[in-house]
């Protein structure tokens, strides 16, 4: 497995994002022999996915109802660093509703819950590494990080590739959102290119006309070797 690319991932301590101050190791990471990192993980399959898991507009809605908010399609491919599609990757998604409120006991934001939206989705990549989900555009919301900090609209992604070292948690932003450049969590990223890599592009060729706009977000995992050690 290729090593983590620390020109792309945020460092542990990023004082502008206050929560990192007490939650960042100060001793350096101990390097592992790359062969030790090739541990294969659980293999998830269709049996782990429910028929509505990738439809966040309906998967927590009352019968016949739908979530409130701008309807969007999020799609793309999961790839390795060589550009090969990663088939059978599992994506877990979660997000706030269209008003910027999470369905979570600890979220006390003023915006109301949507009784027809949970903000949880899941999808497996197809033979080419492709995936597609339908949801509503999440709202921006404030968070405690100084006098006035806001999160841009974003969707959280958790990705299982084929090996432990490919495990990734990240967030997807939306092209053109003016909140991106003000966000202390976005600012943990080490470069403008890293921010770009997390910004989904409006993709009108995949819109469903008179229904939903499409955004494209590709995910690149660490490259695998031809013969990972079966650890």
């Amino acid at each position: 497995m290729n090593p983590p690319d620390w020109t792309r991932h945020p460092p542990a301590l990023t004082p502008g994002y206050f929560s990192s101050i007490t939650r960042s190791p100060r001793e350096g990471l101990i390097p592992l022999d790359p062969a030790l990192a090739d541990c294969t993980g659980p293999v998830f399959g269709a049996g782990d996915i429910g028929p509505m898991d990738s439809d966040l507009i309906r998967n927590a809605a009352q019968p016949g109802a739908m979530a409130l908010g701008p309807r969007i399609i999020v799609h793309g491919r999961v790839l390795d660093e060589a550009g090969r599609g990663v088939s059978g990757a599992l994506l877990e998604l979660w997000q706030a509703n269209a008003g910027g409120r999470y369905r979570h006991a600890r979220d006390g934001y003023l915006a109301p819950l949507d009784p027809n939206f949970s903000g949880c989705g899941r999808v497996l990549t197809d033979a080419d590494g492709g995936y597609r989900v339908e949801t509503v555009m999440p709202g921006a919301y404030p968070f405690p990080n100084g006098p006035n900090a806001w999160r841009p609209a974003h969707i959280h992604f958790s990705v299982f590739g084929l090996a432990f070292a490919q495990r990734l948690v990240t967030q997807m932003y939306f092209e053109g959102d003016p909140m991106i450049r003000h966000c202390p969590i976005v600012a943990t990223l080490p470069s403008a290119a890293a921010v770009e890599a997390l910004t989904a592009r409006y993709d009108p060729d995949h819109d469903r006309p008179m229904d939903a706009r499409a955004f494209r977000f590709d995910i690149v995992l660490r490259g695998r070797r031809a013969t990972p050690m079966a650890l």
Binding site: R23, I30, C39, A60, E81, H104, L168, D218
Partner: protein, 157 residues
């Protein structure tokens, strides 16, 4: 192509990773060993405060995998296979404030951890942060400290 960057999982990771089955998406099933032992402990931040909003995943030989969220006291508990040829389990920790998931290991005290290749790279004075205590009844305890005195060893996996 360049790797997609990591971002923090934030405080509400439970929505996507420990979903409420009553709301449509059911939780992923752990891959359990035949004869499990219990691993448990408390997760602390760099100021000794328990981390009550974290998630820990365990990866072990044979595709054994499980995850748990910490409770509001920072406590976690997982089932693992008994120590065999490989004297450790791999742990991966994400939470609000953790920008890139942290990789560490739990070594079983009754296994031959001292001759493990990765342990050999750890300064001797810090090795004890990775070795669990046998608390009886097939249970092993390891407290994990993300920073501060006794900071746990984390690996660049």
């Amino acid at each position: 192509m360049k790797q997609t960057p990591s971002q923090t999982a934030g405080p509400f990771l439970h929505i996507g990773m420990m979903p409420d089955p009553a709301r449509g998406v059911r939780p992923l099933s752990p891959v359990m060993p035949a004869d499990p032992v219990t691993l448990y402990g408390t997760l602390f931040d760099g100021e000794d405060a328990p981390m009550g909003d974290a998630l820990i995943e365990m990866w072990q030989i044979g595709g054994i995998w499980a995850r748990t969220a910490t409770d509001d006291q920072g406590r976690w508990r997982l089932s693992a296979a008994k120590p065999g040829a490989v004297p450790f389990v791999s742990l991966w920790i994400i939470a609000r404030g953790i920008n890139t998931g942290l990789h560490t290991r739990l070594y079983f005290p009754d296994a031959d951890w001292a001759s493990d290749a990765a342990m050999a790279r750890v300064p001797a004075a810090r090795r004890s942060t990775l070795v669990a205590s046998d608390t009886g009844d097939g249970a092993y305890r390891l407290d994990i400290r993300v920073g501060g005195a006794g900071e746990t060893v984390f690996f660049d996996v």
